[in-house]
Amino acid sequence: MSASTKSRDLQSPSRRSFMVATAAAGGGLALGLHLPFARAQGAAMPPGTEVNAWVVVRPDDTCVVRIARSEMGQGTLTGLAQLVAEELECDWKKIATELPTAGQNLAQKRVWGEMGTGGSRGIRTSEDYVRRGGAAARIMLLQAAADEWKVPVAELAVSDGIITHAASNRTTSYGKVAAAAAKLTPPDPKSIKLKDPRDWKVAGKPMKRLDTAEKLNGSLVYAIDVKLPGMLCAAVKACPVYGGKLVSWDEKKISRMPGIKRVVRVNDRTVAVVADTWWRAKKGLEALPVVWDEGPNATRSSATIAAQLKEGLDATQAYAFRKEGDAPAAIAAAAKKVEATYSTPFLAHACMEPMNATVRYTPERAEAWVSSQNVEAALAALSEESGVPLAKCEVYKHTLGGGFGRRGGSQDYVRQAAAIAKQMPGIPIKMIWSREEDLSHDFFRPISMCRMSAGLDANNKLVGIQWRVSGQSINAFNNSTSVVDGKDDRQLQGYTDKPGDAQLGYTFPSLLIEYAMRNTHVPVGPWRGVNTNQNGFYMEVFIDEVARAAGADPLEFRRALMQNHPKHLGVLNAVAEKAGWGTPLPAGVHRGIAQFMGYGSYSAAVAEVTMVDDRVKVLRMVLGVNCGHAVNPDQIAAQVQGSVAYGLTAAFYGDCTVENGRMNRLNFDTNPIMRLAEMPRVETVVVPTYDFWGGVGEPTICVVTPSVVNAIVAMTGKPIRSLPLRDLKLV
């Protein structure tokens, strides 16, 4: 692997000196995105010349690309570097990357744009300005060579970072002209003509990841691995019942245990034990007598929550999200009716790297070393919690040991570490959660139920369909005033008629979609794919039930409803063809199919399943995705494979159940994760249409569960309407 990763060292003094701590906040984190081309003021990152904010060129012709988005395994770091390199026309073998900090971005008026990495936006919402950044640097480097040779720039050619003037037979390299280029006025970004993606040579190709080597020998420093001089470690426990409070603790009971330094109140519901090592802090915390006020939520359980959601299904009032024609009347008058009620549970993210953060606080300065999908939110959390102004805070970004939505906006773990560190000024505090704390205090995928009904006429033609989702709202949990009268379109992700992001791929003769918001006391948040998971399961499993009632092939039944949605249909057809839909299968093997849309991309899947010793075995899955432009097909395949594993874990096992107001499955023994033996063979069909930019990390997960469930139903003939399958004794 030629790409150097040495420069991605966040803790080095040179990295810290890059920070311009005194620069104006420029409106702070609420500032809208403005497209960055100017040189980053005050930046100095030796040894190399900063041509613009995105590109630093070293004398050895290494091109260092700045990556603002977080890398959590999804390959965005490599993809963004490919996009910059494509326009830069540099030598891919001499690419390195650097990660600007949140403080640097703030100090430089967000020269690198938005750093938050969620919603599968890492590439699709920054592709334009990073490509223009690479192109602007190329234009400046060529101009510098032209100026030196006193020839028109149009006479120059460039390839792999080598600039050539054919007429005079002269060549030079980016490393040689970078210093002169950096002094030039950058071109107007709007004037830059970007390459047609069909002409890409580096982007669009299955380039190797730039960050693999350091993940093979233990050398990559994750946030949990940070070591600082004088550092102490903290273990925390929040009241297991959401809404409960911390009352008191008996520090004397543990003060003589080895290594224990202090017990501190983190916030009104959380206690921390600080020790010289984390293991000793954890032992102390387990031995610490703590009194909680669990509050009224301690009476809640999965059963009371289920009753709450069922009430929502039956309630007279609900938010009518889409109403086209009179579906209830059409269904009432239909020759045949199909009805089903589905449910999906709370789910945890369970990132492999437990939540952690290291914070060093003094009244003058606060610093955090974190795994975060949103280091700007981490910076804001650090500032708010520590009371240190934003401009005097800094957040160092580490590769995440998993994100999946857990490490996004809330930054609760950064707040906790900051609150502990503030009580011990000058001492770096590394706070780590146990797995039990992680599965207790996640922001869970929201629980919901869905009642669906459809009517078929005497010719088995669909005449109307209606459904109501009853369940919890992420938006309402995050900001209860943001949802008025239960009108939360986000909970209906994938059901909209609006094109572009998460459009329903069917046209129905009549349609009614409703939402009954029923919020529980359990914290909820985005979970890879967010609401496309539950909504895709409801839609696609029910469509199969309706097709069965109509005596129709599930693929043909869908095709008839998808004629107005050629992109949805295109992906469905691609997977059907690749999977050999309709061709004979070995005895005992059955297929299922599904399609859905999210994050600007179109997805479909075909699953093949069988029974082995009374357990479902998924043998093969073919997934298709049209993400518009495919920046790195091999990493798209990796994301599809990962989505299958994440999706099947949810389908087979995922179930966070509530007892006495708290979660009661707190480690991988009772909350299992799928393992290698259960992984099906995954085939990925990437079918880009080159006319839009869609996401990759999340779109395909929503078709995993319904395609598998539909295959199981085809095999057993018994409907499946609730998850996980473990409860049905299928695994």
Binding site: M1, M72, G73, Q74, G75, R209, D211, T212, A213, E214, K215, L216, N217, G218, S219, L220, V221, Y222, I224, D225, K227, C233, P258, T277, W278, W279, R280, A350, C351, M352, E353, P354, T399, L400, G401, G402, G403, F404, I432, S434, R435, D634, Q635, A638, Q641, G642, S643, V644, A645, Y646, N667, F668, D669, I673, R675, L676, A677, M679, R681, V682
Partner: protein, 180 residues
Amino acid sequence: MARLNINGTLHDVKVEPDTPLLWAIREHVGLTGTKFGCGIAQCGACSVHLNGEVVRSCSVPVQNVKPTDRIVTIEALSADSSHPVQKAWLALDVPQCGYCQSGQIMAASALLAKNRNPSDKDIDDAMTNICRCGTYQRIRTAVHMAASMMPPAAAEPAAAPKGAGKPKSKSKSPAKASAA
């Protein structure tokens, strides 16, 4: 106090006897390539070699480890990432977030030390570590690829490399010694 032979070096670590080997390695010896994932031997992120066998170090108290026991962590699997498992992982871009991969690599290298030509069933049975990113498909392929790069099973580590495979590293790490 515990005396631990880690990666060929004896370390005297001031820990309580019930301290898990994982935390002695991470917090006292300072090797952080071995990861904490669950603390109950479920996920395997903490996998290390103990006398050539893969163990989940979060659930091995140091009092159960003798000074003569040879512990090998990811940092010493090879001197230069030249172990066939590491080379196969690189060739196939196995890791996503990478957090579990130290453990996966230690599990795979322990498997191949015993079984130079594992079947899919052998891999299913041996590779039980959790990967939340879902790299399982590539892990399976990479184990097969690494198997094809392993030197033939031999009584001593200095065995000649297989003709078809890449030349072996000259590194004589404890892992390879124990693997032979």
